[in-house]
C-alpha cells in the first residue's frame, strides 16, 4: 500500500490550487448563464474540465489519468466550488457520444455541452416504465428521413431548463422488448413537445426541477439516432454506468458540516456534541463515512491497475445514498423543533438546508436505479445468485 501520489502529481496539485486561487468565482448559484459558461470555458482552457476530451470536440485533449481527476476533484472540493457542472449532459450524454456517436454528432454537441451552452435532460422513465425501463412505450415511427415521436416521459429532471433531451424510444414495434429501442437526441423546443413541471416534495427548499414531457408526433431527423437503430438499450447501459459513477457523494464534507453543527447548536445550554447519545451517532456515521472514503480509494486502485473490482465495485451507490440520508437525519434530530422550521420562519437554520439534504438524499436513493434494484444487481451480478424465474405465461 502506498498512498503517496508522487512528485509530479504534487506539482499538478499545486497548479490546480494556484488556478483556483486566481480564478475561483464568487457565488455560482447567483451567476448568470453567460458567467457560468465563461467559468466552464476557463476551466477547459486550463485542462480542469473536459480534460481528456479531444480538442477537435472542444476538450483539452489530455491523456486519461485517474489521479489527475482525483486531484482536481479534491482541490475543487477543498476550494468549495464545483468542478465543471454536475448536469446530465457532461456526465451521461458526452461519454455516450464519445463511445457511440458519429463524427458529426461529436463535433456538434460535445463542446457546447461541456461549456454549459446546451443543457440536456434524460428522457428514460415513463409512467409505465421505471425500474423495468425496457418496457417503455414511447414510439418513434420512421417517416422519410425523420422519426415521429409520440408518447410520454416522466420524472425528467431539468427538462424545463434544457435545450435538448437524450431519450429512449421504441423504434421497432415488432422486435422483442430490449431489441426495439433506440437512443435519440431530441430538441426540447420541437413542435409537438410539451414540458409540464411537477412540484417535488422538496418544494422550494432547493433547486429541484421535475417534469412530465409529452410527445405528439414530434419530428426528429434520423441522423439524431446515437449508435445503430434498435441498439438503444445497449447504449443506454453505458450511460447508466456513467450515471452511477457520477453519483459519488462528498460524504466527508457533509460529515464535517454535521460535526460543526453539533458544536454550534445548543440545547438546555449545552452543545449537542456534549450529549453522549448524539455523539455516539456522530461517531457511527464517521466510521461509515471513512469506510466509504477508503473504499473509493480501493476502487480507484482497481481502476488504475485495470483489475475487476468484483462485487465490491457494485455497492457504493447503495451505501453512499443511505449514508447521506442518515447524516441529514442526525442533523435534523440535533436541531430538534428548530430543524422543522421552513420558509424564512424566525430561527430557521441555514434556510432549511438539512431538510432539503434529507429529501434530496432520498431522491437519490430512488433515482438512477432504486436501492432495491441495486440489491438485485449486487446479488445477481456480484454474488452470482440465481435470477428470478420468469412468470409463466397465462
Amino acid at each position: 500500500m502506498d498512498l503517496e501520489y508522487g512528485a509530479e502529481y504534487d506539482a499538478f496539485r499545486e497548479e490546480v490550487r494556484a488556478f483556483l486561487e486566481a480564478h475561483k468565482p464568487g457565488n455560482l448559484a447567483e451567476a448568470s448563464a453567460e458567467d457560468r459558461s465563461a467559468w466552464l470555458t476557463k476551466q477547459i482552457e486550463h485542462g480542469y474540465w473536459a480534460r481528456t476530451i479531444p480538442t477537435e470536440y472542444g476538450g483539452y485533449g489530455a491523456e486519461p489519468n485517474l489521479l489527475h481527476t482525483i486531484i482536481m476533484d479534491e482541490e475543487f472540493n477543498r476550494a468549495g466550488t464545483l468542478r465543471g457542472t454536475p448536469s446530465q449532459g457532461p456526465s451521461m450524454l458526452v461519454p455516450t457520444l464519445l463511445e457511440h456517436g458519429t463524427e458529426e454528432q461529436k463535433r456538434r454537441w460535445i463542446g457546447p455541452t461541456m461549456r454549459g451552452e446546451v443543457i440536456w435532460c434524460q428522457g428514460y422513465s415513463e409512467p409505465g416504465a421505471g425500474s423495468d425501463l425496457a418496457s417503455l412505450q414511447t414510439r418513434a415511427v420512421a417517416d422519410g428521413d425523420d422519426f415521429l415521436i409520440s408518447g410520454q416521459k416522466i420524472w425528467t429532471s431539468t427538462a424545463d431548463k434544457s435545450q435538448m433531451m437524450f431519450a429512449l424510444v421504441r423504434t421497432e414495434a415488432d422486435a422483442p422488448k430490449h431489441a426495439g429501442i433506440s437512443y435519440l437526441l431530441v430538441p426540447v423546443d420541437s413542435p409537438g413537445l410539451e414540458v409540464r413541471p411537477l412540484r417535488t416534495m422538496a418544494g422550494d427548499l432547493g433547486p429541484s426541477s421535475f417534469n412530465q414531457v409529452f410527445f405528439d408526433e414530434v419530428r426528429v431527423p434520423r441522423s439524431n439516432v446515437v449508435g445503430r437503430r434498435g441498439e438503444g438499450w445497449k447504449i443506454a447501459n453505458t450511460t447508466l454506468k456513467h450515471e452511477r459513477n457520477s453519483l459519488s457523494s462528498n460524504a466527508e464534507g457533509t460529515w464535517m458540516r454535521l460535526a460543526k453543527l453539533m458544536r454550534d447548536e445548543t440545547m438546555n445550554g449545552v452543545p449537542a456534541i456534549a450529549s453522549p447519545v448524539y455523539r455516539d451517532r456522530l461517531m457511527q456515521l464517521q466510521a461509515r463515512m471513512l469506510s466509504m472514503k477508503y473504499h473509493a480509494l480501493r476502487m480507484l486502485t482497481c481502476a488504475l491497475k485495470e483489475e475487476p473490482p468484483g462485487v465490491a465495485g457494485l455497492v457504493a451507490k447503495l451505501e453512499n445514498c443511505q449514508l447521506s440520508f442518515d447524516m441529514a437525519a442526525l442533523a435534523l434530530d440535533v436541531m430538534g423543533e428548530l430543524g422543522a422550521l421552513y420558509d424564512h420562519a424566525k430561527y430557521e437554520r441555514a434556510r432549511g438546508h438539512w431538510q432539503a439534504h434529507s429529501m434530496f438524499a432520498l431522491g437519490l436513493i430512488i433515482g438512477g436505479g432504486t436501492a432495491q434494484i441495486q440489491k438485485n444487481i449486487i446479488a445477481e451480478r456480484g454474488l452470482g445468485m440465481p435470477r428470478e424465474p420468469k412468470p409463466a405465461k397465462a
Binding site: 498512498l3 456534549a274 446479488a379 424465474p389
Partner: protein
C-alpha cells in the same frame, strides 16, 4: 497511489488460506471445541501453532534481527483475516500480534530474547490487556516491590501459554512465567470455543523482567491488537456470507432455490454491501499503524467498533438465510457467529470505542 495489496501480500494471503482450508477445515475446529469441553484447562492447540510457525505466521511481526519476517501490520491483519475466515483456534492475537508489537517497541535485550523465542512458535505469550480500557470485578494489577499483586480479567491466549505479558497501570510492563508461584490462572470459557480467555489472580508473583516507562509500548500493543481483531472479525464475516450464498443456491423451497427469492437475495446483498467498505477501513487502519501513526488510533477505534456492528447484523442475517438448520450445532455456522460475538467485546466494546474516538477528536465531554 496504490490502495491495495502487494504481490507478496497476495501470495501470503493465498498461501495461508490454502493451508487453512486444507489443515483446519471446520471439523477440525469442531474437534478442538470438543477437546476443550473435555479438558478446559489444556488451552492452546500447540500442534496447529507449530504448523503455522512453519509457514512463518508466528514471526510476522517479529523483526528480522530476531529471526522473524519483520512484516507490516497490514500483513498481520491479512493473517488475522484468514484465521477469522477459518475460525481457526490459535493464540495469534496475543502471541502473534500484541506481544511482538509490545516487545519490539520496548527494544530491551530481554524483550529481544523473547521475540526470538516467539518467532519460532515454540514459546507462546498471553496478554492481559482488559484493564487498560474496562475495569470490572475490582480487577487491576499493582506492584509491591518487584512482585505482582491483584487480578486481571479476560487475559488473551494465556491458557496453555508459557508466559504472560502484564501491563501494570499504563506505563509498566511485566513478563511473568505461566507457572510462576503465586499465579492462579482460571480459564473463563466464552461462547466462542476457538480461543481461550482467562482470569489471572496474582499474589506476589515474581517477574521475569519489568519494563518501566513502557507507555508507548503498551499503547502500540493495544492499537495493533484492535486492528488485528477487526481483521479477524472481517474474515469471519466474509466466511458467513460465502456460506449463505452457497446455501441459498443449494436449498430448494417452493420448487426453486431459495437464492432466487428476492428477500433472500436482498439479505445477501445487504450483508456484502455493508461488509466490503469495512475491508477498506481495516486495511487503511493497518496501513496507518506503520505509515501514518498519528491517524492510527482513530482508525483503529472505528474499524473495530464499526466492524463489530456490521458483524452482528451479518451473523444474524446469515443465520436467518439458513433457516432452522442455521440454529443447529451441526450446521457449524454458529462457530463464526460466536467468534464475532466474542470479538465484539474483546479489546473494547463498540460503544466505548466510539466514546474513545470522540475523545481523540476533542468532541464533547
Amino acid at each position: 497511489m496504490d490502495f491495495g495489496l502487494s504481490e507478496d501480500q497476495r501470495l501470503l494471503d493465498e498461501t495461508l488460506r490454502a493451508f487453512l482450508a486444507d489443515r483446519v477445515p471446520i471439523d477440525v475446529v469442531r474437534a478442538e471445541r470438543d477437546r476443550l469441553l473435555e479438558a478446559p484447562e489444556t488451552g492452546i492447540d500447540r500442534a496447529l501453532w507449530a504448523r503455522l510457525a512453519e509457514l512463518g505466521m508466528t514471526g510476522v511481526l517479529v523483526p528480522e534481527e530476531q529471526d522473524g519476517s519483520g512484516l507490516s501490520l497490514l500483513d498481520a491483519a491479512l493473517v488475522a483475516q484468514a484465521l477469522g475466515h477459518a475460525v481457526a483456534p490459535t493464540p495469534f492475537l496475543a502471541s502473534g500480534v500484541m506481544a511482538p508489537v509490545a516487545l519490539r517497541t520496548l527494544a530491551t535485550p530481554e524483550a529481544e530474547g523473547e521475540l526470538r523465542a516467539l518467532a519460532t512458535g515454540e514459546r507462546i505469550v498471553g496478554v492481559a490487556a482488559t484493564e487498560l480500557f474496562a475495569v470490572r470485578e475490582d480487577a487491576g494489577l499493582r506492584l509491591e516491590g518487584d512482585r505482582v499483586h491483584g487480578k486481571a480479567m479476560m487475559a488473551l491466549g494465556g491458557v496453555g501459554a508459557d508466559a504472560l505479558l502484564l501491563p501494570i497501570g499504563r506505563d509498566r510492563l511485566a513478563l511473568v512465567a505461566a507457572e510462576a508461584p503465586g499465579l492462579t490462572q482460571t480459564r473463563l470459557a466464552t461462547v466462542d470455543a476457538t480461543r481461550c480467555t482467562s482470569e489471572l489472580l496474582c499474589e506476589g508473583v515474581p517477574v521475569l523482567w519489568l519494563a518501566r516507562e513502557a507507555g508507548s509500548s503498551i499503547e502500540r500493543m493495544l492499537l495493533a491488537g484492535r486492528i488485528a481483531l477487526a481483521a479477524d472479525t472481517f474474515g469471519a464475516c466474509e466466511a458467513m456470507i460465502a456460506r449463505s450464498v452457497a446455501y441459498a443456491a443449494d436449498r430448494t423451497q417452493f420448487g426453486r432455490p431459495i437464492g432466487s427469492f428476492q428477500a433472500v437475495k436482498h439479505m445477501c446483498a445487504e450483508m456484502i454491501a455493508d461488509l466490503e467498505p469495512v475491508r477498506s477501513l481495516v486495511w487503511y487502519a493497518a496501513h496507518c499503524f506503520d505509515a501514518l501513526p498519528d491517524e492510527a488510533p482513530l482508525m483503529a477505534h472505528h474499524a473495530l467498533a464499526h466492524g463489530a456492528e456490521v458483524a452482528r447484523e451479518i451473523a444474524s442475517t446469515a443465520t436467518q438465510v439458513h433457516g432452522g438448520v442455521g440454529w443447529t450445532d451441526e450446521q457449524n455456522l454458529h462457530f463464526w457467529f460466536k467468534r464475532v460475538a466474542t470479538n465484539r467485546h474483546l479489546l473494547g466494546s463498540p460503544t466505548s470505542l466510539r466514546e474513545g474516538a470522540a475523545a481523540l477528536q476533542d468532541f464533547g465531554a
